[in-house]
Subunit: 124 residues, 2 copies
């Protein structure tokens, strides 16, 4: 049916043995795939996405972000910590106030492609 190389049954291993072998040799390192997932996990929360978009316009302090998004200062601070740890935003202190801004060109790119995907998906 398919055509060439079915081998044994699926007893959890190898329906198409050479396909499996080929893919196995070309898979990236586990560490990298794990880190990649961790990075996207950061984008996978609407609060963080909204913070990033707010920072698209200009740098903002924690309190302003909280005001814009209708969140508590604490919640924003926690999420900014995550974003900062992943080098997506950077902080600048001016007296008592800490200003946050985007710290990565990739933020734009990633969000942009995500939007493209969404818009095309709805058009199908």
């Amino acid at each position: 049916m398919t055509d060439d190389n079915e081998i044994e049954k699926c007893e959890f291993l190898y329906v198409h043995e050479d396909a499996v072998r080929e893919v196995l040799t070309k898979m990236p390192k586990e560490d990298m795939l794990y880190d990649l997932a961790e990075l996207f996990k950061v984008f996978g929360d609407s609060t963080r996405i909204r913070i990033l978009y707010a920072l698209f316009e200009r740098e903002l302090c924690v309190c302003d972000i909280a005001g814009i998004l209708g969140l508590t200062q604490t919640a924003v601070s926690h999420q900014l910590r995550v974003l900062k740890a992943n080098k997506l935003v950077k902080a600048r202190r001016d007296g008592k106030v800490v200003f946050y801004s985007l710290d990565d060109d990739h933020v734009h790119s990633i969000l942009g492609i995500g939007i493209q995907h969404l818009s095309e998906g709805s058009g199908k």
Copy 2:
């Protein structure tokens, strides 16, 4: 200190009032930001990332993916359902076997930019 427009205190609202107003007018729709987060959430799991990378090479059936990644058939099937619901993979049935393949150019783009970010981050 800062320079122009501090207004009142942060009582949860508006340290820099015009900054807040400006950003508020330019924020995208809530729905879109939510959908965007949902999309990235799909990429935010190492199992799904690994499945996507396996499919980079060629289409694969559920059992092969399970074999390649050392997962149960059930776990893979559940994740494929998520990926399919988000139009990142598509399915093709051939008899008893269902072959999955990537269903979006954006998958390449998004993962590519993610990798760029990671590699630059470690070089800092």
